[in-house]
């Protein structure tokens, strides 16, 4: 899995050039085999083969060990599922918890208190802020500025990295206050939360959020000015869309291809398949088209729902159109969404008033429970069958990265010819940077499948 010092990675810290015998033998040839992708969450690799200018193979290989979550939740109660599915991803556990809890509440007909809904949204804002700040500053920015990591970047631009860390910390702080800890929080329960919160606890978030807002707005300016490779991708974009809110925990599934379905109906429009080079299943729409999720898709499909401060920031960049087509601009989309999440969090903190009870009572029973929310990386879908005792009989969990996988491969194939003329190290870096621009969460992507799906051979 790991090569000797400096030979397995890429970017400026290592050559990144594994390569078979074909590597770079002719101007139109390129073989790239990055054994272990870095600055992504989880373990994956890139295999790309171009011959005579023609892309023969572009595979995002995911060899993250399978963990079989859909089987692990069988026989468990809804509240246990909320705890277990968080462990699919240490980066976005809230996305899993909130999606599951919404699914169960929808399936079991539970109506939650508005104060609970607001707090869940605030919790989700915290995760968005943390996850996006992590990606923008620690994972992606080094690519644009030519550093192997943010730790090296900090030697020259300590202020920038410190600002990113402060932003990230504010996101974590929100999750800690509401959830007890930043990773795998413990308070989300079906029907509400495990405890009540005092207004003063929530209001205490105001001050760090105000600071974060200033950093977030500066972040937009920082990333909008980054030198960016030119690339125009094609293919449908998919996201949730809500009548009034920027999509996060609720909304209908819509696409640039005209799709518009309820969040429970994901399976009516998409399907997953297994490919031999990956432990993650790939999703496509029912026409077999790869589609893209995530911040750029959300901005394209629900940009009119941005918080006014975020909308102003987007306008200031003048990049609204390019964000929808150039994946390298996703860093700008993320920065805009940080502004949105911080601004909305401030509003929520200001207006929030406690609910009388921590959660509404509910009783277990048979149900079909499904829901979709917007994880930082894009739309996430959960579906559960509950048996007569209210225990999970079957589960289906579709994370964003497994849905994006096909689009990433298609984009790699489309982009690869444009780097053929570059020095090899730079070409590899561009390709890795492209992969990182989708913020793939490989830990999430593994271990999922719907048994009823057809295979693509």
């Amino acid at each position: 899995m790991h090569d000797l010092d400096g030979t397995g990675g890429s970017g400026l810290g290592g050559s990144g050039l594994g390569g078979s015998g074909l590597g770079g033998s002719a101007p139109g040839d390129l073989t790239v085999d990055v054994a272990g992708l870095t600055r992504v969450e989880g373990e994956g690799s890139l295999r790309l083969r171009v011959r005579d200018g023609q892309v023969e193979e572009a595979h995002l290989q995911i060899f993250e060990a399978p963990r079989y979550f859909e089987q692990l939740v069988v026989g468990r109660r809804p509240d246990e599922v909320v705890d277990i599915v968080a462990r699919i991803c240490g980066i976005c556990p809230v996305a899993y918890q909130v999606t599951a809890v919404h699914a169960f509440e929808a399936g079991l007909g539970i109506t939650i208190d508005p104060a609970v809904r607001a707090l869940r949204r605030l919790l989700y804002c915290g995760e968005w802020i943390e996850s996006h700040a992590l990606h923008v500053y620690l994972l992606h920015l080094p690519d644009f500025l030519g550093y192997p990591s943010a730790l090296e970047l900090a030697r020259d631009r300590r202020d920038a990295v410190e600002a990113g860390l402060a932003l990230k910390k504010t996101g974590n702080r929100i999750v800690e206050v509401i959830g007890g800890r930043a990773i795998h929080p413990v308070s989300v329960r079906v029907g509400g939360f495990s405890r009540t919160f005092r207004r003063s606890e929530i209001r205490a978030l105001r001050e760090p959020l105000e600071t974060a807002l200033r950093i977030a707005e500066r972040t937009v300016d920082l990333v909008a000015d980054l030198p960016t490779p030119a690339f125009t991708r094609s293919g449908p974009l998919v996201a949730l869309r809500h009548p009034t809110e920027y999509p996060m925990n609720e909304g209908r599934i819509v696409s640039t291809a005209g799709l518009d379905i309820p969040p429970t109906a994901w399976t009516s429009a998409f399907a997953e398949t297994q490919v031999p080079w990956s432990h993650a299943l790939q999703a496509r729409d029912l026409d077999g088209r790869a589609y893209l999720l995530g911040p750029s898709s959300r901005l394209a499909l629900a940009g009119d729902r941005l918080h006014p401060l975020a909308a102003a920031a987007l306008t200031r960049t003048g990049l609204a159109t390019e964000i929808a087509t150039n994946p390298y601009r996703s860093v700008v989309a993320r920065a805009i969404e940080i502004v949105d999440a911080v601004a909305e969090a401030i509003d929520l903190v200001e207006t929030w008033a406690p609910a009388a009870d921590a959660r509404v009572p509910w009783s277990a029973g048979p149900a079909t429970a499904a829901w979709a929310t917007e994880a930082p990386r894009g739309l996430i879908f959960h579906a559960y069958e509950l048996d007569d005792r209210g225990l999970v009989a079957s589960a289906r969990i579709v994370p964003p990265t497994s849905q994006n996988q096909a689009a990433i491969e298609a984009d790699l194939a489309a982009f690869a010819p444009s780097v053929l003329g570059l020095p090899r190290a730079e070409a590899v870096l561009r390709l890795e940077q492209l992969i990182r621009s989708y913020d793939p969460c490989i830990s999430c992507a593994t271990h999922f499948l719907d048994l009823t799906l057809e295979e693509v051979s």
């Binding site: 870095t38 600055r39 373990e43 026989g75 007890g180 225990l391």
Partner: protein, 285 residues
């Protein structure tokens, strides 16, 4: 009596550790949350990076190293044949190998599959199971190689990671108490959820370090730090049995289910939910 022979030594730098120890962070089967905890030390991350050389940490840097490592932090359970091979290699090039988190120290949530037939569960999740290489059981790192230290938890606690790194840099022993969660819970002034609310709580048999988060948030501890020293899981299980006999195994079948005391309690009470009654699957394979 005269003074004993005095050797005058030359004063030397105070640092207890050779300059900039080489640190690696690697993962096996896991969610990445424990290694993310290092990046979550927002206030200290850059100061730490000034003092150690993070030579391998794929999640955060494109610098790569195959070793040697002064300290290697290993996340995740051992779940595939490749991981076994890689782990043996890493052990050989690591001065100190420290496991971080419930997956690495106890097998993690995915060890619940250890009670199940592996081929069956693989076939149930993947239509083409032959593509999937995995071991029959998800197991802790210490089942395969010697481990020099561990941080418990699902995920690990930022404070404990900070303590580990500070101890490493200052040359002292990290303070990682092996006592029950109850001590921290009571210090915090949390009302016992079991006694006052009949909520089953694994706090009395679970190692402290999290800060008693779950009881403080109105719910029972689910044991994510794994068994404490002298964990009397049998007694606690017998007490739970008086409340809800069918749920005893369920309570222990969490993120450290495969740890010996919790595994014994699960087996005593019929195996984890959703799995066939404990039998051959629960014995070491």
């Amino acid at each position: 009596m005269t003074a004993s022979a005095t050797v005058v030594r030359t004063p030397r730098p105070r640092s207890a550790v050779p300059t900039r120890p080489r640190i690696g962070v690697v993962k096996l089967a896991s969610c990445d949350g424990c290694q993310l905890t290092l990046l979550d030390l927002e206030d200290e991350l850059l100061a730490i990076a000034d003092r150690v050389d993070i030579v391998e940490f794929a999640e955060a840097t494109s610098r790569r190293s195959a070793g040697p490592f002064d300290v290697l932090l290993v996340e995740g359970s051992v779940s595939t044949p490749d991981q076994v091979e890689e782990l043996l290699r890493l052990r050989a090039v690591s001065h100190r190998l420290i496991t971080i988190g419930a997956c690495a120290t106890a097998g993690g949530i995915q060890a619940l599959r250890n009670w199940r037939d592996h081929d069956e569960i693989r076939a149930a999740v993947y239509p083409r199971p032959a593509f999937i290489e995995s071991l029959a059981q998800a197991r802790p790192v210490s089942d395969f190689v010697a481990v020099d230290g561990e941080l418990r938890g699902c995920p690990i606690a930022p404070d404990q990671l900070r303590e580990l790194l500070t101890a490493l840099l200052t040359g002292r022993r990290p303070q990682l108490p092996d006592e029950a969660v109850c001590l921290e819970c009571k210090r915090r002034g949390v009302v016992c959820v079991t006694v006052a609310g009949s909520i089953p709580c694994l706090g009395p048999v679970t190692r402290t370090g999290c800060g008693a988060i779950c009881p403080a948030y109105g719910r029972g501890c689910y044991g994510c730090f794994g068994p404490r020293e002298s964990a009397n899981a049998a007694s606690l299980a017998a007490w739970f049995e008086r409340g809800s006999p069918a749920d005893v195994a369920r309570l222990f079948a969490g993120f450290t289910a495969w740890s010996a005391p919790f595994r014994a309690a699960i087996d005593t009470y019929g195996g984890p939910p959703g799995a066939p009654v404990a039998g051959e699957g629960s014995t070491d394979a």
